[in-house]
Amino acid sequence: MPLRLSILLGLGLTVLTVGTPTLRAADNAQAEQAVALLEARCFKCHSHSAGKNKGGLVMDSLAGLTTGGDGGAALLPGDPSKSLFLQNILSVDPDVMMPPKGERLTKDEVALLTGWVKDGAPWPQSRTKAPSADRYLPGTIGAKEKAWWAYQPVKRPDLPAGQARNPIDRFIDARLTQEGLTAAGEAERAILIRRASFDATGLPPSPEAVTGFVQDPDPQAYEKLIDRLLASPAYGQRMARAWLDLVRYADSDGFRIDDFRPTAWRYRDYVIKAYNENKPYDRFVQEQLAGDELFPGDPEALTALGYLRHWIYEYNNRDVRGQWENILNDITDTTGDVFLGAGMQCARCHDHKFDPLLQRDYYALRSFFNNTLPVEDRIAWTDPAAAEHARRLASWERKTQAIRVEIAALEKTYRETATQKAIEIFPDDVQAMILKPAAQRTPYEQQIAALAWRQVDYEYGRLDRSIKGADSVKHADLKRQLAEHDQLKPNEPPFVLAVRETGAQGLDAVIPKKNTVVPPAFLTVLSGQYPAEPAKITPTADGTSTGRRAALARWLTDKSNPFTARLAMNRLWQLSFRRGLTPYASDLGRLGEPPSHPELLDWLAAEFMSKGWDQKALHRLILTSAAYRRSSSHPAPQAGQLKDPQNTWLWRFQPQRLEAEQIRDALFAAGGDLQADKQNGPSVVYSEPTRSIFTRIMRNNRDPLADVFDAPQWFNSASSRDVTTTPIQSLLLLNSPFMLKRGEALAARLTKEAPGDDAAQVRRLYQVLFARLPTATEAAQAAKFLQEVRAQKPTAAVSAALANDFQPEKVPFRDGQGAHLESSHRKPFLASGATEVDLARGFTIEAVIVPRTVSDTGSVRVIAAQVGKGKADGYWQFGVTGQKSRRAPRVLVLQAFGPLLGDDFGEAVHFSGLRIEMNKPYYVAAAVRYADKNGPGEVTFSLKDLANDDEPLLHDRVITRLTGVRTATQTIQLGGKGTDAESSFHGVLDDLRFSAGPLNDQALLYANEDWRPDPLGFWRFENKSGTLSDSSGKGRDLAVGAVKAAPDAKGGATPLAALCHALLNSSEFLYVE
């Protein structure tokens, strides 16, 4: 008997469990007791009745035990020593012992179980019933599971009978009739154009477009409108948003260092372009999964591979294997959501509990991606562009060879040290992989070594810092010499976030703990076999790639695939109605809900495929349906409210709140300052008034507006947006400087478009915000508001800041607000000067800055300065050098013209070695100690990257011959120098502090925010304490440019601006009806 048993086991467990039921079922007291014990102590975490299978293990059937969990088979009948569950019961290792908590099993209990296993673990007769009838059991997927609607091929249903011309309405109307509901009529044209414009382009219609449409006598006016909207470049910008949410696109790494991804935007532009050019959806899918394998040489297809790169990345994770595992899981999870509409991540640790998705299926899906190597060196360009680049690069290389050789020689030892230090921090096994010759690495070792090498590269990027002393000077000098040839250098080629593969040899995923190797395969539930047969794979012709992703892409875009077209159509529907035909747009399984109109979904899917996956055609069909055009108001809503309060049958349109980006875009559009001409290109910071799709998504530093209006996190695939209403949201709309500015911008626009006429301005206001004219009551209400506010005492606090276009902006990672300064603004902040005595011992200037750009020339962008009246007074200025600086680009610099050692009077320029990157928040300082008879003085520069806590406060000390300044009493200028455009600081300034004497480290603002060493001026730009007031108590309040800081009732918040601001808070503005 034992012999026979082991043969059976050799043939496979399925045979054992299914093939010999009578043999295993027994009526025996020992078995009864043993299983009762399991029930008492183990079922809580390992049974269908408890709904738990911790560690992937269920113990309520022999099949469950012999199939086992993450650790492999839990029970081997007849062999207690190879029965893992028993071994774990015996273990004293807290990580594996079972049960993990509570009393240990007694000796008698252990003896009972051991005896039972030894006797072949007969399963008691009384328990042979399947543990739960509606669940599939290990080893099979039941007919019921296979029959789930989403696994059936798409079949085009017949159109229901009816009058409607648009096929969509036939389905909708049939259902309404069935439910006994009458639909609302068509919405008014003004409402329709606002609704369709937001839905198709994400933007509000202009008042002119509204009037034109409302007055258009053409019966086809609406269809023409839809065609116009779908043809607008704004269409792709709107559609891309939803897709980017799905693929968790962001411009940053999302970990402790939320590092910017400078080339990620090319993927965003790819998506926009794909929608605008109406790229067939099957091709769109293929390019993103396998653009390199399927369409070699096509720059767009290469760019599309960004889909595989939007996972988060931790720059200093020494657990390289763990991070790589997480990355592959992320791609698998996202692909499950986006392309399978299946909660694959639920099957990562165990078979899916509700859907017939096996853990094996998860790893089979992962195997399609298992060979990828993330790379940043792939270039999305055509051959001629590459050739031209190569030609120019070769010429630059020839010219600069000597310098580069010299630099390399100087860096050599530093680089070696950096390499060694970076490598030795890894665990031994990873170090071994890195140190192995590349040719000898297995595919997995290639992946791990490459991921680890990013950390070495990170150190190379900071090599400057480790070079000290004379080498440092020489290095900087060589770099400058090299920069002199920059005009010969070709522009940076269009690098994209992409992947390569480790070769043609496939590397299969392995189920952790079970160590089961799983080749790529499609879902078992769709297969005739259990588990699914491996997918047919052909490596690419050039042998560089496995062809696995191509196989996946082909399968997904085959017309027999049940998911792809349905998912696409459901998402398109969701964009128009905010609720999909099935409400969970990335889960078509049991956890989602069956579609409200299954035939319609299938008809759309079939039509979509038969039209060559033409997205715009189907979108047009939806937007021109009567269902979409219905009014939100129903003349007799009672029946609908009673029978269908959720509006599932679409008896009317539901008013919908705009999405965060639509709100932001509409706010800028209303004020007339939306820079709609930005249609592509690198991402910009969110304070720039471009469309939101072009703003940087920094995962750990979000736009507060997007945050309160439910923008997703962009860490995982997101298939829909929430709509929440909170007091924090109301406070932002009501009190934030950003919103007040929007009110002012809108008022300025109205004043320009309808000068001097209150009533006309109010009419225009309603047209701009609501695409309609005010009712008589509303007009009267607005007039009354204006009158009321005019009668109010002018607000004493309306400050020059507002009159002078002060732009508040929050500094990332800092509280409160700073001052945003446009490039070439020519309007520095001005404060009254100090005294000679104040600056007799030197001085310290400190600031928090976020530079947007530096000068293209050698000019210094000024953070602070004092300039004398005539040449004899000299000047000093503290700032950041330009790109073509004669010493070093983008470094902190202090320049002065004044008395020098040896009774000279002249220039003293102090370049620091502290380099600034754009769009990063920094604390910066320069402390000046003058030279005197004892010798030269010193300028101590300080720099702290506020976005990265790992970065220390850096210092650089430069010797100075300066013995004093003659400009102490001159106006202190912040953020620029006079009306000089070139010196104007571009970016955000905050917390500027000017102090007498050179401050030591402890006294610096960065080191100690609480302790105030009695500064001469401290400017924080806080709204509450006074945007332009001096919080040092010295009364050095700021003026802007030439304008005094006196209250100016005419500027800023006019009654009209207040009206505009109030209506920007209105629900009607934030909703489409």
Binding site: N326, L591, D815
Partner: protein, 448 residues
Amino acid sequence: MAFSDLLAKEIVVPAPGTPLQPGVGQIKPRAKSVIFLFMEGGPSQMDLYDPKPLLNKLAGQRLPESFGSVITAMGESKSPLLASKRAWKQHGQSGQWFSDWIPHIASCADDLAVIRSCKADGINHSAGVCQMNTGSILAGKPSLGSWINYGIGSANRNLPAFIVMQDNQSSVINGPRNWGAGFMPAGYQGVRLTGGSEPIPNLNTPEAVSADLQKSKLQLINSVNRDFAARYPDRSELGARLAGYEMAARMQAEAPGVVDLTGETEATRKLYGLDDKTTEGMGRLCLLSRRMVEQGVRFVQIYHGAGSKWDAHSKIESNHAGLCASMDKPVAGLLKDLKARGLLEDTLVVWGGEFGRTPMSEKGDGRDHNPTGFTMWMAGGGVQGGQTIGSTDDLGLRAVDTPLHVHDLHATILWLLGIDNMGLTYRYKGRPERPTQNEGEPYKKIVG
């Protein structure tokens, strides 16, 4: 304050009969509020709560092979063991051990359940802080405070249910996403109270807007929004928008009072160390958290050493000495004050970091990150004080006895609040999500 008179005054508590969330209602709530004192950067367990004589004996040697290998953040697995220089004493009736760095906390020994066997998964700060807040080392999940806000709501609608404060301006690792709502609606996220005159972003009427003007604006907003809501009476969210402004007004009225400490007695101020420069900052936050709990705020989180200040990779002596000095008295003051006011019974106080530190040295005088065994403590809210739970191995490297993973710790906190960690679900993308990611079990013995 500007416009609260305009609007109905009413404290909104969850109305009786409000349907409970799944997983709420079956477990007896012992705590009503949580104050989570987050020592950011990772405090050293073997220098504060978990004495290890063997460590001092083996100091200078390598980790014995019997302890196996570990992956550490800075690759210090082979560095020599670092002795603890602390003096240790047993305290209170319970005789729990504390080092000389935290004499004030030690004086509360009999109120504390010291858990020496905590475990986490992240070896770096980002993952660690993320997990201690959300249960997952990968971002995107709601934080514990959001789950609690979702599960049992607030007892005071005039203040956020979930408030976060920090002791300095540096950014907490990962930034605001630590108190974010993850995949839940934004309304469940924590609100960070900042220092200065505007504790909540945009709380104050802007300087350029007079009280009269603000009132006029609010009247108009209210009026147009009421009209719009009337057009769609069955869209409840439009009503919620009206209520949102009312709540904002009440928040504007109430929040400044909560952060105003002028009404506190001299004795109270002293208890929290507000009279001493060293302890003043943390003392203020601790006192504020008591005031918030009094007002019904559900979850208060204080980051001490915000920006990884506890991260003593080198010079652990000076680093931890300073941080302990600034934290010890205020934290003890909070416990004593809560107790004296009868608030400790239903306020759970949690102390800990994202992980602990290694017995191995780093840079000669520091310690690397250690998520495999570290100490946290809980007090109040039904917790039985004076007990030491679990243990680490003889060097303090790994949790050995009664290991409590972050998921177990979260499950325990939820359980004390009357929330079943496996019962509370939120449906995201159709899938039931749970606060402890389908793992974790409450350590019920913590109530004695």
